[in-house]
């Protein structure tokens, strides 16, 4: 009741809720195909839109990595099929051309970081879980929520279209550092492709902001009766911190992009100074600072990695507790450590700039702050392990991915301690070691967390289960494959093998890695193929999967499982459930689980 009461006085919203309370079967008469599936204002449909758009991007982004791994693994081989498919401009003679290679790595980074692991991950689970787990009918503003998706869609269309223009997409790296990104004369990708990239990213920022505002407002204002902040599931805490990070850091990125646009088109020189082009031509720009862009970029860029990992952490905490049949260990420590991570996220951006001309004394401050992140991260890992400890573990696919997440997060976190040191960075920067580190700790961990969430909540989204056999194949090949791909890169990086290079075979010292590179590329292709198996499983199961017949298939305590199996717009047909306890009453008083809606017994004290 509380959110309806809070919205009291706003006749439009209150009215809309009144209509949509009906169960889905009764609700059809008012909805058309357009309002239900396209311009939907139902948070559950918007979540599915984000998820499927994100999956399409993940396939494209993954395919790009397969293409450039082909180049890295087999630099001398001619694959005629590439020329047939991609044309002679990008793949002349069946070999990936340098411009195309840089475009591929740039787009792979942009797509995976922003469109999959931010839009796809936060967009899906914040939209889906926040109202359902808090006991709200919908978001604070369903309309802004719909706009958030459609801005994401527009950003996607613009980014996708940049792949098809003559000069190709942006190719200056996903960070788009000037002067390379500012000067159309500097590379093919810095021409129209870069403009489309900036437009797309600006639209993406708008989408993120609209979404983030809604998430924060909903979490803080529309909780059902009894749902105090400390009774919220950790998923919601994680999504709250994620949204706060996004709302505070994306605008700064936009500032940086605006200055970059003026440098590109209006003749300003915020980032440009004393530049000679390869043709020998001198540019008139003076007084600009390329480092300025890096500060503005990484002030978002670093929180961005927590925007990716925090939702994954939240999903994993929830899935792990449900499937270990135990309360999450150290609930308040989990919240506190996420809070610490959110604060530190804003204080460490310059560790991406240790070797780009940052004052070394300033660097030492950022080393200290960076290494401090190990503390909350370690608390979280400890709590996950102790949640598993002596648990009555059910190895569902969701649970396996959650455990895989913790494994990856530990492995990748440890190399973070290496890279957080500015002195070690002199050797390790821009090597494959960095690639290994962030792919394991952010990329693979993030995506494993997302898979944990998808496998766990798929029954709630579609009323059917994913196929378990395919899920187990998917999990084991993905986990083992991810280690096989990224673990060897640490050795390459320690030996000094640079990242971003088209071909390192000209270096005698890196010839020893020829076989290793072929191995990595082969595994990458296998892992990519297994992701297609998942995609098949996903769409097959939407229509043909085993039906969910009980309201609460996992025996979970949280509110989304008190809603009907296929909830309509408004989520609960009758009154919104009231909450009497926290989200983690598992294995308590001789019972397997006690739902949050169950009133306290006479022998219990409030939590």
């Amino acid at each position: 009741m509380s959110n309806e009461a809070a919205l009291h006085g706003h006749s439009d919203v209150a009215h809309a809720h009144g209509v949509d309370i009906h169960h889905e079967e009764h609700g059809h008469h008012k909805e058309t195909f357009i309002t239900k599936y396209v311009f939907s204002q139902d948070h559950k449909m918007i979540a599915k839109q984000f998820l499927i758009t994100g999956m399409i991007w993940a396939i494209l982004g993954g395919l790009m990595s397969v293409l450039f791994r082909l180049q890295l693994g087999y630099p001398d081989t001619h694959f005629q099929i590439l020329e047939d498919l991609l044309g002679s401009k990008w793949a002349k003679g069946g070999q990936i051309q340098p411009e195309f290679y840089y475009a591929l790595v740039t787009m792979h980074g942009t797509v995976l970081v922003f469109f999959v692991l931010t839009g796809g991950l936060s967009g899906t689970f914040a939209n889906f879980l926040i109202p359902l787990q808090l006991g709200a009918r919908d978001m604070a503003s369903p309309f802004l929520n719909m706009l958030s998706y459609w801005f994401f869609w527009l950003a996607s269309v613009v980014m996708l279209s940049s792949l098809f223009i003559e000069t190709g997409p942006a190719s200056g790296g996903w960070t788009s550092y000037p002067p390379l990104s500012a000067l159309g004369d500097a590379s093919e990708g810095s021409k129209t492709g870069m403009d489309l990239w900036l437009i797309s990213m600006a639209l993406f920022v708008v989408s993120s902001l609209l979404g983030g505002l809604n998430y924060i407002s909903t979490i803080l204002n529309l909780r059902t009766k009894g749902m105090s902040m400390t009774r919220m599931p950790l998923t919601i805490w994680a999504l709250l911190f994620t949204a706060i990070l996004g709302v505070l850091s994306f605008p700064v990125l936009l500032s940086g992009f605006i200055l970059l646009l003026f440098d590109r088109h209006a003749g300003t020189s915020f980032y440009l100074s004393d530049i000679f082009l390869a043709s020998g031509k001198a540019l008139p720009n003076e007084g600009g600072s390329a480092i300025l862009y890096q500060h503005l970029f990484w002030f978002l860029g670093h929180p961005e990695v927590y925007i990716i990992i925090l939702p994954a952490m939240g999903l994993v905490s929830e899935v792990m507790s449900v499937n270990a049949r135990k309360p999450i260990f150290g609930y308040m420590a989990m919240v506190g450590s996420m809070f610490a991570i959110a604060i530190l996220a804003f204080l460490v951006w310059a560790h991406h700039m240790f070797v780009t001309g940052l004052n070394p004394f300033l660097g030492s401050v950022f080393v200290l702050l960076t290494l401090l992140i190990a503390v909350p991260s370690a608390i979280k890992v400890f709590n996950w392990l102790t949640t598993l400890w002596k648990g009555n573990i059910r190895f569902t696919p969701g649970m396996l991915f959650a455990i895989g997440f913790v494994s990856m997060f530990i492995s990748g976190g440890l190399t973070g301690i290496f890279l957080g040191n500015s002195t070690l960075d002199i050797h390790l920067h821009d090597t494959m070691f960095v690639i290994a580190h962030f792919h394991i700790v952010m990329g693979v961990s993030g995506i494993l967390g997302m898979f944990a969430g998808i496998y766990h909540w798929f029954p709630k989204m579609y009323g059917r289960y994913l196929n378990n056999t395919m899920a187990y194949i998917h999990f084991w090949i993905t986990l083992v494959g991810a280690y096989l791909i990224f673990w060897p890169m640490h050795y390459e990086g320690l030996a000094g093998m640079p990242r971003r290079y088209l071909d390192v075979s000209g270096w005698l010292s890196f010839n020893q890695f020829g076989g290793l590179n072929r191995f990595i590329s082969t595994v990458a292709m296998i892992v990519f193929a297994v992701q297609l198996l998942f995609v098949f499983n996903f769409f097959y199961s939407i229509f043909k999967g085993r039906k969910v017949i009980t309201q609460n298939p996992w025996g979970a305590t949280t509110l989304e499982w008190t809603a009907p199996i296929r909830p309509g717009h408004g989520n609960w047909p009758g009154e919104i459930p009231e909450v009497h306890r926290w989200a983690y009453d598992y294995a308590k008083d001789g019972r397997e689980f006690i739902p949050q809606t169950e009133p306290l017994g006479s022998n219990e004290s409030a939590h």
Binding site: V247, S255, G267, T268, G287, S289
Partner: protein, 191 residues
């Protein structure tokens, strides 16, 4: 019954979700300008910094936006007192002052531009065009919202007494006003 009443009262005290959303959005806008003004400060300490004169038009525009804050506050009061005629007149006045503000900013830019400070370079003038220009864009967004409210106030036959949209509008308007005052002081003090 008494208990139920208390509960309703408690709910009333809670901030309206849309208002809350607006406040978070304002925080977000603040971050954008904080990013730009800190870039300005960093840049100012580096070589080849150039300054710019404060045009007289900016003083007039500041006065215009300050007065418009007063008029929108009065409009809100009139709306709550259900004096609809007064309300219509006051939001019309606010709108006019807002348009006047943007026009004066434009004149200010023109006078700086005419003194030879164009987009060439990376000094204070170039930052001014971007920062104050983005601010003006936010004011323009407010004007668009005011036009919508203006049309609603005149066109609708239905009487609306829900004050939330008017409150949201006035909060946003005071915000862009304060933001400009901050930026103006910033530009005068740090050049």
């Amino acid at each position: 019954m008494i208990e139920a009443n208390i509960k309703v009262n408690e709910q009333r005290k809670k901030i309206h979700p849309h208002k809350f959303t607006l406040w978070v959005a304002l925080g977000s806008i603040v971050m954008m300008f904080a990013g730009l003004t800190s870039a300005y400060i960093v840049k100012r300490d580096q070589a080849a910094w150039t300054s710019f004169p404060i045009p007289r038009a900016f003083w007039y525009s500041t006065a215009a936006i300050l007065i418009s804050s007063v008029t929108i506050q009065m409009a809100l009061k009139a709306f709550k007192g259900r004096e609809m005629l007064k309300y219509r007149n006051l939001i019309t006045l606010t709108m006019a002052l807002g348009i006047g503000f943007v026009a004066l900013q434009w004149l200010g830019f023109r006078s700086i531009w005419d003194q030879g400070i164009t987009f060439k370079g990376s000094g204070g003038g170039q930052f001014l065009y971007i920062i104050a220009g983005l601010h003006a864009a936010h004011v323009l967004g407010g004007i668009v919202a005011l036009i919508v409210m203006f049309i609603k106030a005149y066109a609708s036959k239905m009487r609306r007494y829900n004050s939330i949209p008017v409150e949201l509008m006035s909060t946003y308007w005071h915000f862009v006003d304060l933001l400009w005052v901050y930026l103006f002081i910033f530009f005068i003090g740090i050049r």
